[in-house]
């Protein structure tokens, strides 16, 4: 029964990791870049929910409705300015610039809001849980996040395969020059992809801030690494693989934590390294995606 609980809690955490990861996966799929500031953007979204939303005199649970669209806009603007400028230079420049951005964000948060942890307060809603039996509790909030993660991935899948903008995104990601010849404005398409990526990670960041405390360094050492591990475990280029990857990462961490809380993160890293050694294309990835 204890092991069932470990499994259940792992799956619930997996919802967070999948939500962290889908933006990272999308941006890599479309632009072949990794945004090293991905996690820090999530933390900034969480801080925005903590410090700005209370000024609006609305219930904090509505913070999502305000902050997520703002971050979609932030993503679009960031892509059209800084990231596009870096992309025009070289992939190396993109890594350097996003790493620089990550360090800037972390240290600015540190200077302005200190190293103290911050939580998004949604009142008593967070405490509600569903008691399955004497051992297993399912937190309603975490269950909601898992459902939202599945929904976001599903909507994204449908969006990419059925809508005309989604088709454009795929066209640009497959062959940028050919898409351009057919009249696609790839810069705008990149902007839209970045808007989706940043909006989803903002959603994930606020949710994480509700569940636990955010600190200036949460974005790099936790969000980015977990998102990245979920993507690689599931397989680069596979959205549903990312969900499975996130869930496996969550389960591995909970198994580690079951032995010793200090081993939680390490167990996730070890699963990632094992996948890298045994199946580098990930569980559902294609070999070609690696090159």
């Amino acid at each position: 029964m204890t092991w069932t609980n470990v499994l259940v809690q792992g799956i619930l955490f997996g919802g967070f990791y999948a939500l962290f990861a889908c933006g990272l996966s999308l941006l890599f799929g479309v632009m072949r870049i990794i945004n090293l500031a991905h996690g820090d953007i999530a933390v900034v979204a969480g801080y925005t929910a903590v410090f700005l939303v209370p000024h609006l005199h609305i219930a904090e649970v509505w913070g999502f409705v305000v902050v997520v669209p703002i971050f979609a806009l932030v993503g679009y603007v960031l892509q059209r300015t800084l990231l596009q400028a870096a992309l025009d230079r070289s992939p190396l420049t993109t890594l350097l610039v996003t790493f620089g951005l990550s360090v800037l964000i972390e240290n600015l948060l540190l200077e302005i809001y200190t190293a103290n942890g911050q939580s998004v307060n949604i009142g008593s809603l967070i405490g509600n849980s569903w008691q399955v039996n004497s051992v297993i509790y399912v937190s309603w909030f975490q269950l909601v996040v898992l459902i939202v993660a599945v929904a976001v991935l599903g909507v994204l899948q449908v969006y990419l395969s059925k809508t005309s903008t989604g088709r454009l995104i795929r066209a640009v990601s497959d062959d940028r020059e050919a898409a351009q010849i057919c009249g696609a404005n790839y810069r705008h398409i990149f902007g839209i992809a970045a808007a989706i990526a940043v909006a989803t990670v903002a959603l994930a960041g606020i949710s994480y801030g509700i569940l636990t405390e955010l600190t200036p360094t949460t974005g790099g050492s936790q969000v980015l690494l977990y998102a990245f591990e979920a993507v690689v475990i599931g397989g680069i280029g596979s959205l549903w693989g990312t969900l499975i990857g996130g869930i496996l990462l969550g389960v591995a961490q909970q198994i580690g934590a079951h032995y010793n809380p200090a081993y939680q993160v390490l167990a996730g890293h070890l699963l990632f390294l094992a996948i890298l050694a045994l199946r580098p294309q990930g569980l559902f990835g294609k070999k070609e995606a690696l090159t």
Partner: protein, 335 residues
């Protein structure tokens, strides 16, 4: 050998646009000055120089990785930490900490070998984040070893017999000599055959591969060498603290500093890391007491340089004056 490369038609092939003896002579003068620094400079300056040479080692190694071999590692702090802890372990086992520095560097290098086989399965940005996962894993493993002090750390043993002055001098000299070995070694490496392969990889990996350059094994060598360099830096850091703690030894800020210094100075040039480290220390001294602002300004500067002046400060100087302080290639000169 250089004279045989082109027919003698009133031209000669040389490395530098100054006399070669000046390079050797200049190096000897600079080396003599910094070796004598503890006796001729105030103690506060020596302490700054100690940190300067520490960052110089790190920036030189990161430049080799990213500037030449195209590996944007964001996990070098892992090897700094491993170097620190290898030295702590050796000192706890009774070795003299100063004598153990090369061994600590070697341990970091040996650990890097199997790591490359995992990391090299990923490319570009994925490789970058994976290096951080490895660094984080190394820290978490060290954290769980209570013999090495766990999360709180341990003081470096074997230094108590030294007087405060002796300790300050010796820890500075250890850092400086390590920096000298790393800098001269890197320079000679870049002038060697391997350096030629690296320069071709830097300019075009595809062209280098099709010309028969062993790109993957060269990368592996460079990754291991950089791990040893960062391990040595970690070892001298452990001596100059002299306290080994995971939060400091594995700190991501080391990575930020080496990366920013390399970009600002000029990535992919020998002189770049030196210039970048000087810029860093000028900023650091100016902005002292303003907390993390020095890193924010340094980082913003690095982002701006990466976008608008990718050659860095040295790239600008070289393009304007065609002067190379530490040449690694050859040039044709009229007799």
């Amino acid at each position: 050998m250089s004279a045989t490369l082109v027919p003698d038609v009133g031209r000669t092939v040389v490395r530098a646009n100054y006399h070669p003896a000046m390079l050797v002579g200049g190096t000897v003068v600079v080396a003599a000055f910094f070796s004598a620094a503890p006796w001729i400079l105030p103690a506060a300056w020596v302490s700054v120089l100690n940190n300067f040479f520490l960052l110089l080692i790190l920036a030189t190694m990161w430049n080799l990785l990213a500037g030449y071999a195209g590996m944007v590692s964001i996990g070098q702090q892992g090897f700094i930490g491993l170097g620190s802890y290898a030295l702590l372990y050796l000192a706890l086992k009774g070795m003299n900490p100063f004598a153990a520095i090369p061994l600590a560097a070697l341990i970091a290098g040996v650990i890097a070998v199997p790591v490359t086989f995992l990391l090299f399965r990923l490319r570009g940005g994925y490789f970058s984040v994976a290096t951080w996962v490895v660094a984080d894993s190394a820290m978490l493993v060290i954290l769980s070893i209570s013999y090495l002090g766990g999360g709180t750390g341990r003081p470096m043993p074997g230094l108590t017999s030294l007087s405060p002055t002796e300790y300050n001098h010796d820890s500075y000299l250890a850092t400086w000599l390590t920096a000298l070995v790393v800098s001269v070694g890197t320079y000679l490496l870049l002038r060697s055959r391997l350096g030629l392969v690296l320069a071709s990889m830097r300019d075009s990996e595809t062209a280098a591969r099709s010309s028969g350059a062993k790109v993957t094994s060269t990368r592996r060598w460079i990754f291991v060498i950089a791990a040893m360099g960062c391990g040595a830096a970690g070892a001298v850091l452990a001596i100059s603290q002299p306290f080994v703690q995971p939060g400091n030894a594995f700190n991501i800020n080391w990575l930020a500093e080496m990366l920013f210094a390399t970009i600002i100075g000029g990535i992919g040039t020998v002189e770049g890391p030196i210039i970048g480290t000087i810029v860093y220390f000028v900023l650091y001294q100016t902005l002292q007491g303003l907390g993390a602002w020095y890193l924010i300004i340094f980082g913003a500067l690095a982002v701006a340089v990466a976008l608008w002046q990718p050659g860095g400060v040295w790239g600008l100087v070289r393009d304007k004056t065609r002067f190379e302080l530490l040449p690694v290639g050859y040039r044709v000169r009229e007799k």
